[in-house]
Subunit: 706 residues, 2 copies
């Protein structure tokens, strides 16, 4: 679909200049350096030859219709260029210019089906197609030095997709410098037309990218993200995401930079986790994880063996792995004995395995023999080798024995040097499909990412419940829902709530309470009273003796506080016994739509924000994962002699809330069930209080996505 | 004191070999390469000339008495060498050999006052004295390449002190590669005699080191650490510590590596924080923090301005700073206007300040002008500059305008390049006393370390209370203290506990309870019953009507469960109303001695280990800091409409517990006050239950440290 954009047969550079120190000259200069095999047409009315090529005064004068035009003229002139491109039948346009009115461009292209990329983009470099459409200095430098970044080594090449031009090309440079093959780097700028999700879709279709690094400040259309990420996942292409704009200042910057409203960071976290996207937060993590997922096999678990020539570095390595949630288990005595036979007597074999400097000085035979022991042992999933890589030919000298081992190994192996390593060794490792990391922290992060990838792959989508819900909100007014409507909503989705009745007389109250069983709660019911407690409109723990009295005092207090309130009556609700206190809710994220939120209740837990969230709807397995991810889950599982909570009932409730959130998403803006009381195993869970808010979606385009 | 060890006038190399590929040959080879100005005497009976120097068959044959001997003979022969050294009056010895019996060495040196360093050490390189006493390959390489690491640039040189030889010299290499001046790298090996704390003491005395990087697996004598760290701090020398062995595997490795029992990681954290030591956990942090503290001024606070040429990098920078607890505040409109005048119209000035690429292309005038605005503004404490440093002469070209600015600035400034930087630029920055960091995470970590340093410097030791305690444990038996003895202990140190009386009859119980006021608690009192609840020996919430009855039932139940128990009577204790639940205690760390521990109570808080600890004794300010460091402190301060707790009373209680812990440290092994109930402001705090354990210290050498 996008081949005319990223793989065109011919390109016109509109606004091309002869001076490569200027942006418009550099664009043509880099394109020519990139080895692009198609035709290139500079367009500029003020010259007949530009950078050795015949130049044309306008698009119509070019002897063929170019597939793609690169537009680098001042912003105000862009709509005219697009109109001309439409007239002659150009298929795609990249608009580098800033200060462009997107509406006028859209009008100019109207109905042509032209693919438009930009505005305000630094462009892209597609190394796989040998096609540079950018003025980025990094690409200029690489091409000038005759470097080649596309697939050269074993493993899968990486593509970079970035909203920020500066960070996109910087990341390209970092990856290439780290001996990683980069297939394409594509920066999307203002995304007035095509966006980064379109680019990911193209790369998945193209089928040549092994992993995608995504640098994003906020999605233009977050509701598409899940489907795009799932397509990439289905094609076996991991996405490594750097999402910036999490901090207040970052958000401020992101807003001013690309006019995106940086979405709630927690929602991004949840969406990424849900779709198996690996989120990284710093450069070291990015580079290590990119190398690991593009080159190494996925391990079966989190058990790491550390093999080291320095005791101190081995200890630090073990700490670094543990800090990333990995295990560095003591090896069995059988395995230790096996390894001990290969090593000098002063070596240690517990794990870390201190092989001593000797083991790497004998041509690598000992090192490889120990590695073979660990690779074939069922006790270990991954291996970290720490050795000095300061001599430039260290790895090259081991290549004959090491290369076959790395090619065969079904377990990921990372190499690290505690002594400042020489780049030649990392290059030699890369040439045999191996990975060297620059720090022990990076090793831990990389193994963790690989283990998470295995964990994500092992998640199979579960079944959603087969409730046939109504659309409760059809025709509902915006605002807080009446208690009765809220109760019907919960009931419609099978969410347990305490027995409740609306009554208008004290006799009725007493009779209803008698049926429910005492004690009960009384609550004033009025659309004009939101904060019932503040007007004395709630009475707890009412027994038979006091119900009539309290019925009247509630009414009186409410009337006194809000004289004009339209009072529908008094709700009689069964007083629930204490249980484990949770909070369950729905939030409507402006970027991604509804999420189910689960939190631990009680003041301490709320203060610590012990919460989990997941995009709605959710299946039962996801509900159980959400519960297990809370720090409070140990308490729910029955810590310190307390009974195990009815986790299954809580999971059912979460699934039903997810279904509600999804089905009612056009009008439900917020739902708070607070508290949800969870009782001991087999005794259920109940939403004691509920608050629902309806209203139109914050996202104008929501209807289009449904 | 140690000048004969680290700055000798003459050195004998015992076991020197002619072959520099062997350890004993390399030792001499590196020593000669280091430019050492003193006399060098190879000692080896099997040759007359070694590496061009006259060799001697034994120490006695050397024409002068060498200040220092380096011993690299097989372990069994070492005691004999030391005995010979003692006979001729050698002052210091470095024992590289492993497999040495320290007791025999000690006996051989007995009474001579000889300073002995080792065994099993990779030695040291004192660049400041141009003296290498090591066979480390890293030092060989550096000297062979003619590099000089000692003070060359503005700023204070760094010394590395490491128990691990491999990590010590690796760290030396990393620092030198990062354009940092290294004064000395000293690795202590097995520490059978002098240890890393002696080395720090020496470096402080010597007065030439600006900052110390310490790599440690565990202290041989942790109780000395505080005094040594405080001496360094008083001399203005920050210590950056990497303490490994935190994980199970790390501890396993540390034990096998240097025979240290890696101490409790939390105790190390507390001790480091208490003495202003900056703990880092990974290489990136280490290098960034070392550069920052050795070169940059300490900022007044945590407010960072981000100045960037790439919007995306600026956003990431803001996130990275925020993740390290720094603020990136929006600049005032006044300051923004001032800056805007210097920049193109499409720049943004909110913070991040996106100066655009233009601002660094004009010879640095604009960059420096914006920096001057920020340096002179009271709104900002630190500045992060992100710009492309890919061109090798980028910084050199700015030197004329940048160098004076960096020299003058009282605010720390860090430089970062989102595009792969060239080392030449970092070198040029270093030459003018500037610091370039390799990642945005590193920038955040460095600023955080500088801010912490300011915070540590601002802490003034407070006054300890003037209680005159008794030594309660003198003559006490080991084990759990009787309740009565525990109560006297608390009373002696002014720790509030509920009114309690021991009674033996029901009449007495009723009378005592009447005086205290009902309700009360009854507890069986017997040295033979530790778990009172389990034998039905506790009754809560006793009112006047029931006290006689319950008195008898408690006695009966206890007698039934433990027929032989020696029952002293029943404790009547005032039943305390509910309050904020805390846990206060004393733990006796085998490395560092007694710590005061404060934790949030309640099952949820206990599960999350919301705790703080500090070495005893503590002053009031430290007690308040401990309280403030808990996540629960927001609740104590009165979150969500609850009353503020009597934080002052809790602080008083903590100070008194600290005094108790310190005074009774020879015999107190553990104290648990659980719960301590803290009441609303002005209403105090009370230790409802107490458990004290006495016994001899786990540390044999404790008495010597008192």
């Amino acid at each position: 679909m996008h081949s005319s954009l990223f793989n065109p047969r011919s390109v016109a550079v509109v606004g091309a200049s002869a001076d490569p120190s200027k942006m418009r000259g550099k664009l043509l200069d880099i394109l020519l350096k990139s080895g692009y095999p198609g035709s290139v047409y500079p367009v500029n009315p003020s010259a007949s030859v530009i950078q050795g090529l015949k130049a044309y005064p306008d698009l119509a004068s070019i002897p063929e219709v170019p597939d793609l035009i690169l537009v680098a003229v001042p912003g105000a002139g862009v709509p005219e260029i697009i109109a001309e491109a439409k007239r002659i039948g150009v298929k795609s346009a990249v608009i580098m210019s800033s200060g462009v009115d997107p509406a006028r461009v859209k009008a100019a292209a109207g109905g042509s089906g032209m693919l438009i990329f930009g505005t305000n983009t630094e462009g892209f470099y597609h190394a796989g197609h040998r096609f540079a459409a950018t003025f980025a200095q990094v690409v200029d430098t690489y091409l000038s030095e005759g470097r080649q970044t596309a697939a050269q080594r074993p493993g899968r090449p990486i593509s970079v997709v970035s909203q920020s031009g500066g960070m996109g090309f910087a990341t390209f440079g970092r990856l290439a410098e780290d001996e990683l093959d980069v297939h394409a780097v594509i920066t999307t700028g203002n995304e007035d037309f095509l966006d980064c999700l379109d680019v990911i879709d193209y790369l998945v279709d193209e089928g040549e990218t092994g992993a995608i690094v995504l640098f994003v400040e906020g999605f233009k259309n977050g509701r598409r993200f899940g489907a795009v990420a799932d397509r990439a996942a289905a094609a076996g292409i991991p996405i490594i995401a750097i999402k910036v704009g999490a901090s207040d200042a970052g958000q401020r910057a992101a807003i001013s930079h690309t006019a995106h409203l940086a979405g709630s960071d927690a929602a991004y976290d949840a969406i990424f986790r849900h779709h198996g996207v690996i989120r990284v937060r710093d450069l070291e993590a990015l580079l290590a994880v990119a190398a690991a997922v593009s080159r190494l096999p996925v391990p079966a678990g989190r058990r790491v063996a550390v093999l080291t020539t320095s005791g101190g570095a081995g200890t630090w390595a073990a700490d670094s792995c543990a800090a990333c949630g990995l295990d560095v288990p003591e090896l069995s005595s059988k395995l230790q004995n096996e390894i001990a036979k290969l090593l000098p007597s002063y070596a240690t074999t517990g794990n870390p395995v201190d092989v001593t400097g000797q083991a790497v000085e004998d041509g690598g035979g000992t090192l490889v023999a120990v590695l073979r022991c660990l690779i074939s042992s069922p006790e270990i999933d991954s291996i970290l080798v720490n050795m000095g890589l300061a001599k430039p030919d260290r790895v090259a000298k081991l290549a004959a024995v090491l290369a076959p081992l790395l090619a065969e190994s079904q377990k990921p192996i990372l190499f690290h040097s505690h002594i400042s390593p020489r780049q030649e060794n990392f290059a030699a490792l890369a040439a045999m499909g191996g990975v060297g990391v620059k720090s022990l922290r990076a090793a831990g992060l990389a193994f963790d990412a690989l283990a998470r990838r295995r964990e994500a792959l092992s998640i199979k989508p579960g079944k959603l419940p087969s409730v046939s819900p109504n659309f409760y909100f059809a025709g509902a007014e915006s605002g807080v829902l009446a208690e009765k409507a809220t109760r019907s909503l919960l009931e419609g989705y099978g969410i347990p709530a305490p027995p409740t009745s609306l009554v208008t007389t004290e006799e009725e109250a007493a009779a209803v309470a008698q049926t429910m069983g005492f004690p009960v709660v009384l609550k004033i019911q009025s659309v004009d009273i939101q904060h019932k407690t503040e007007v004395g409109g709630v009475a707890l723990n009412i027994v038979e003796d006091t119900i009539r009295n309290r019925f009247q005092s509630i009414l009186a207090s409410a009337r006194q506080h809000v004289p004009d309130a339209r009072i529908e009556g008094v709700l009689v609700q069964k007083m629930m016994p204490p249980g484990y206190e949770m909070i369950v809710g729905v939030v409507d994220d402006p970027d991604f739509g509804p999420f189910v939120v689960l939190g631990a209740g009680g003041i301490y837990a709320e203060l610590l924000r012990d919460t989990a969230m997941s995009p709605a709807p959710i299946d039962r397995e996801e509900a159980l994962r959400m519960i297990a991810s809370l720090r409070m889950s140990a308490i729910l599982e029955g810590a310190r002699g307390k009974p195990r909570a009815d986790v299954e009932a809580l999971a059912d409730l979460l699934v039903n809330v997810g279904l509600l959130a999804h089905t009612e998403r056009t009008h439900l803006r917020q739902l708070d069930l607070n508290p949800v009381l969870v009782y001991p195993e087999g005794q259920g869970a109940v939403a004691v209080d509920a608050l629902a808010v309806s209203g139109p979606s914050a996202l104008g385009s929501l209807a289009a996505c449904l």
